[in-house]
């Protein structure tokens, strides 16, 4: 099953590689991983999307907690949460396609953040499946380049991860 795990860890050099090393050494899979400092600059927050049986997810949680620099771990999928991913996609936009591309972007509530006479760069935010849906809705051959951040997640309401 898919899980989205949030980790607060010391903002130290090498902390990220400990987490990544743990996943590869123990054969856990990482679908996406994002990390950046929080409002408290001594802490980073990481969101990891992974998949595995209940036993594997339990081990992932325990092994993450065992890392010396990890302060807190929660499995967001244990309760209500919100998840967002940012995608930048550069598409061919010439002739008749140009208007169509703008329309598709509007339907998916994307924003065109850069344009030339030949292409658009569209910014799109949403769950991973919404971004996938956009990519399959447009003409595949029109896609010049995509870049995705991977999911970030946060608990709903009073589900708060902080120290």
């Amino acid at each position: 099953m898919r899980h989205i795990i949030s980790v607060l860890l010391e903002n130290e050099p090498g902390a990220l590689s400990r987490v990544v090393g743990l996943f590869s050494a123990r054969g856990y899979n990482i679908e996406t991983l994002t990390v950046a400092p929080t409002e408290d600059l001594t802490l980073s927050r990481m969101t990891i999307v992974t998949a595995g049986s209940d036993e594997v997810i339990e081990q992932i949680n325990k092994q993450l907690n065992k890392l010396i620099e990890v302060v807190k771990v929660i499995d967001l999928s244990d309760g209500d949460h919100i998840e967002r991913e940012l995608m930048l996609v550069k598409v061919r936009a010439v002739g008749n396609d140009r208007e169509e591309m703008k329309r598709m972007s509007d339907i998916f509530r994307g924003r065109i953040i850069d344009a030339t006479e030949k292409d658009y760069t569209i910014e799109l935010t949403g769950t991973g499946s919404k971004l996938d849906a956009f990519l399959s809705a447009i003409d595949r051959s029109a896609i010049l380049e995509t870049v995705r951040t991977g999911a970030s997640g946060i608990g709903r309401g009073d589900r708060i991860l902080r120290i």
Binding site: L9, S17, R18, Q59, Q63, N65, K66, I68, V71, I163
Partner: protein, 571 residues
């Protein structure tokens, strides 16, 4: 007081009460060696290879309750040390390893003797640090000792670039009294409610079993384990790492369990209805095939300081996270306060069954005076040292025989590489053991394959007058490899025969030690006696043993615990 980086490092070691540092100098640690030279509190032991330094610090730690310390240089100093670090990591041994690094400005430039020490050691340490400022040295070393020795212990590497220890780099020295880390707070006390649940299960058990591992030894909980087992009257088994955690000569001890465990221990493990696991981790060499293990229903209680060891390979019913010793103390307290007693009738029936299993006498071997049986040598060693020696071992058949036939009654007497299975561990580990226990008899049980992996340390033993007794069980084969080839590969002995062995007697003599060749069974006892009498000499005893002897019982890889082979007739 303002001190330079190298002075600070040495002062930190003094503050930690470190008496020995095992190491090998090199360019990146010259400032440190210069400071070591100027003082006498911390004594440096010069090994002959960095692997030996780590194993020696490891042996020192295993035989005491202290943290072992090693010092190596950058690049090859570190890569040579990796085997030792990984060995300590797998067996949860607390070490602090100080490694030199190229100067800060040269890091990443592929400098001479540079390697990414933090990166290369990351998967085999509990934690590691790269110090980038002389001001951080004291706090980092304090943290390193704290992390190494608390919770589930393990090795910690502190990498220090050469410029940080330069005499011109100074900082105020103030060794922290304590450490507090928001991200690291190991649990000590167990949950009282869980302990209560465990007690009720134990008291209601009809076929109980206590399975104790290295955590009992490392957690200094052998007296508590013994008290608990005796109070309950239950059978107890130890893992390879846990030997000595419960006295092997006691009737309630059913022997080691696992791949080469006793018949009675493995059968009791398989057929018990309530299992209390203490500081053990249900690894593949212990329970064999987990599916087979699950076929018999049982309720499992698991006490461990490391939550990730619980329900990792085997689903546990009552987990108790905490240091083994305080948890056992609480359990004993609750047991003493309880009015209930274990079911005496059920226990009697259970012991009757265990005695039937025991009567198979699975460790029997042919008594003969025609050839030296390796088991016989170990039995004699046990007898002549009154079971009170420190015994280190390498890895292979001799290790299993030592575990089976040297009956350890005390913890921290049996020093071996159980997790990583590192050949070459025994001799350097014995050096650390002997330095930590300067009056003790220290025997290194090894084989002609393993001993050659760190043979250079014979020179260290000479330099520091370490009178280790080396018991070389020489069967001219990589015995355990040969045994598996016999069992699983139709006796095709691929690369397991040792041809062109050195003359070990001459070799020992060349290093300035005493060498003995023993090739007759009748000479075993007199030779051991003579060697033990030479209290101030290292004696290398080369026993020419039966080439075809195998370790029995054996649970083949992937098989279940109750599917033991008891001897060649089962092949």
């Amino acid at each position: 007081m303002e001190l330079n980086g190298a002075e600070i490092v040495v002062r930190c070691l003094q503050e930690e009460g470190v008496d020995y540092v095992f190491g090998y100098p090199g360019g990146a640690v010259l400032h440190l060696y210069d400071e070591l030279f100027k003082q006498s509190k911390v004594r440096h032991i010069l090994v002959r290879h960095e692997q030996g330094a780590i194993h020696a610090a490891d042996g020192y730690s295993r035989s005491t309750e202290k943290i072992g310390v090693a010092l190596v240089t950058s690049g090859p100093g570190v890569t040579n040390a990796i085997t030792g670090i990984a060995t300590a990591y797998m067996d949860s041994i607390p070490l602090v390893i100080i490694t030199g690094q190229v100067p800060t400005h040269a890091i990443g430039q592929d400098a001479f003797q540079e390697c990414d020490t933090v990166g290369i050691t990351r998967p085999c340490v509990k934690h590691n640090f790269l110090i980038k400022d002389v001001k951080d040295i004291a706090a980092t070393i304090k943290k390193a000792f704290y992390i190494a020795g608390t919770g589930r212990p393990g090795p910690v590497v502190v990498d220090i670039p050469k410029d940080i220890t330069h005499p011109s780099q100074k900082a105020e020295f103030d060794y922290p009294k304590s450490v507090s880390m928001r991200s690291y707070n190991p649990v000590v006390k167990g949950h009282a409610g869980q302990i209560k649940k465990a007690l009720q299960l134990l008291l209601s058990a009809r076929r109980p079993m206590i399975y104790a591992g290295g955590g009992v030894v490392l957690g200094n909980a052998a007296p508590e384990l013994t008290q608990l087992v005796r109070h309950l009257g239950f059978p107890c088994t130890n893992t390879l790492m846990g030997l000595g955690g419960y006295p092997a000569s006691d009737r309630q001890f059913v022997g080691m369990l696992g791949m080469h465990g006793t018949y009675e221990a493995n059968m009791a493990m398989q057929h018990c209805d309530v299992l209390l696991a203490i500081g053990a981790r249900f690894d593949d060499r212990v329970i064999g095939n987990p599916q087979h293990f699950f076929e018999e229903p049982r309720t499992i209680i698991h006490i461990d300081v490391d939550p990730s060891s619980i329900s990792k390979r085997v689903k546990v019913d009552v987990p108790i996270v905490g240091s083994v010793r305080p948890v056992l103390q609480d359990l004993i307290k609750q047991l003493q306060a309880s009015k209930e007693k274990p079911d005496a009738a059920a226990l009697k029936t259970w012991w009757k069954q265990i005695d039937v299993w025991r009567s198979i006498d699975c460790l029997k071997y042919e008594k003969t005076d025609k050839i030296i049986k390796p088991q016989f040598v170990i039995e004699k060693l046990h007898e002549l040292t009154k079971g009170d020696a420190f015994v280190t071992s390498d890895v292979g058949q001799h290790q299993m025989w030592a575990a089976q036939f040297y009956k350890f009654d005390k913890p921290r007497r049996w020093i071996n590489s159980g997790g990583l299975g590192t050949m070459g561990f025994g001799l350097p580990a014995a050096m650390g053991v002997r330095l930590a226990n300067p009056k003790a008899t220290v025997a290194c049980i090894t084989g002609e394959g393993s001993i050659q992996m760190c043979i250079q340390e014979l020179s260290t033993c000479k330099q520091y007058h370490l009178p280790i007794k080396i018991i070389n069980l020489n069967n001219r084969y990589l015995g355990m490899v040969r045994q598996w080839q016999q069992v699983d590969y139709s006796s095709r002995y691929s690369a397991s025969y040792m041809d062109a062995l050195p003359d070990f007697v001459k070799l020992a003599e060349a290093y300035g030690h005493v060498g003995m060749l023993i090739d007759k069974a009748v000479d075993v006892e007199p030779a051991l006696k003579e060697a033990l009498k030479l209290k101030d000499r290292l004696v290398f005893m080369d026993f020419i043993t039966d080439q075809t002897e195998n370790v029995w019982p054996m649970v083949k890889a992937g098989k279940g615990l109750s599917e033991m082979l008891l001897g060649s007739e089962d092949l």
